[in-house]
Amino acid sequence: MDKLSDTLGRFGGVNLLPLALAAVAFVLIGAPSSWVTLTIAGLSMGMMVFLMASGLSLVFGLMDVLNFGHSAFISFGAFVAASVLAALGGWLDGGPMLAAAALALALIAAIAFGLAAGLFFETVIIRPVYRDHLRQILITMGALIVSEQIILAVWGGTPITVPRPPFLEGAWIIGDVSIEIYRLFAFGLGAAVFVGLMVLLNRTRIGLLIRAGVENREMVEALGFKIDRLFIGVFMLGSALAALGGAMWAGYETLITPALGGEMMIVVFIVVIIGGLGSIEGTLLGAIIVGLTANYVGYLAPKLALASNMILMMTILMWRPSGLRPAVK
């Protein structure tokens, strides 16, 4: 048994889980073309969830702060992007260049909103309750209630349609496999963000500070760095990524309601619990596993889709109580 786990460890250990999952699903599904479609859907969903979850995980790792109001950034991102796209409706039909510009503006607006909201949240809401988990949970929950009410007041409770640029519509057909272009785009964007985050964390001084801070906050201060400033930055980055994730999700769903944030929050929580709080690689791993599971189970046994994630989480927690790839502490 030890030998087996050693061998597995050498080939990537827990990173193999998504592959194992895909292999099992391949056998169960039977039809290769459906399997490919589902796998791509799962990967792209995983990437969007990764965008939403990465900030939450980093903030927790660095500051031991868990923001239950994180889903507000997701919702705001979705609605801000949808509003910008709706306002620039004419550009979407004005050729690929204009449409791309509209899309870029929508995503930038979501990110900018996320940055500003993150700054506000960190300094006004969370700063006074550092190191007090009970009040932290309550206050961020209160902030979530208020944010949801603001969304309801501004955008109303009825579903809103999100226009997409024409070049992201439709699907490529290869043989009998059809691949939605938007999913590829979402996957590509998520992957690019992941690579960007990895470069930031591993190749820059700021990243070095963040990684050191996740491990030992006091020592970073004793070396002469103000961790509070670092934390504001990370919090804003995390909020912006959540808003970007929400914006992408809005384009994916094309019909959004204010309940979107709350629904995604459950998935995000499951992802960070599975992946291990505080680590970006763990979050990506968790997101991919959850994305794949949701799509495979959604196809094989639609009624079990949400419960499947819960079962997955429970199983993994029994096996590894602090998640698959927790940050070094």
Binding site: L208, E215, V220, L223, G224, K226, I227
Partner: protein, 234 residues
């Protein structure tokens, strides 16, 4: 010349008063040793100086400036380095990353780096290894190296010999002697022989108060006092 002056420092942790009024002066240069039984308040004293616990106002002066109540990062920037008891190594970072983080500008000063290599050759050897994979002694070397990679006026070191093999303790002593020629070291130590071999001046803390101050030579000669203050049976 006094580099660090602690006056009637009181520190509460949560609802417990740990330091009831600690007073001592650290002269510039050499090694100043802080002795005391377990739980006497030595670590709390170092952490309070560093600003990691909040001491009573007006109680810590560094080079003439009042530093009590200032943020830890500012205190560090003034020129105080801290090597905590658990060494505070970033295990997920390499030896090189641990060191570069401790530099002010993100660049190494080659002469200082050379000096660290001379003091601790193991660090050069494991330069690109992740710090968690180092041995206990090597981690301690890294922690000390991190404190001297930038010029600092004062280094606070908390029980550096704890759990180390005798040969490494000896090497550590050599390194401290070398470092103390250009920097002041405030050393908390349980290992009395190690402390005696290094220290010039010393103080004893008991139950959150300084109960004895003097030179190491006098203290080392007075076995009765040692037995009374430290519970040593020689």
């Amino acid at each position: 010349m006094t580099i660090l002056s602690v006056r009637d420092m009181k520190t509460d942790i949560g609802q417990y008063a740990v330091l009831h009024g600690v007073t001592f002066d650290v002269p510039e240069g050499g090694v100043f040793v802080l002795l005391g039984r377990n739980g006497a308040g030595k670590t709390t004293t170092l952490r309070s100086i560093m600003g990691l616990w909040q001491p009573s106002p007006g109680s810590v002066h560094f080079q003439g400036q009042d530093i009590s109540g200032r943020p830890t990062a500012d205190i560090a920037r003034l020129g105080i380095a801290y090597v905590p008891e658990n060494m505070g190594i970033f295990g997920g970072l390499t030896v090189a990353e641990n060191l570069i983080l401790a530099t002010a500008k993100g660049k190494f000063d080659q002469t200082r780096l050379r000096r660290i290599y001379d003091l601790f050759p193991a660090l050069e050897q494991f330069w690109n290894k992740q710090a968690w994979s180092l041995s206990g002694g090597q981690k301690q070397m890294l922690a000390v190296a991190r404190a001297i990679i930038e010029p600092r006026a004062l280094i606070l070191i908390d029980e550096p010999t704890k759990g180390l093999a005798p040969s490494i303790v000896a090497a550590m002593g050599e390194a401290f002697r070398e470092i103390a020629q250009s920097t002041t070291i405030l050393l908390v130590e349980q290992n009395f022989n190690f402390a005696r071999s290094l220290g010039r001046d010393m103080a004893v803390i008991d139950d959150g108060r300084v109960v004895h101050c003097g030179t190491m030579a006098d203290f080392a000669a007075d076995t009765e006092l040692q037995g009374q203050l430290l519970g040593l049976s020689v």
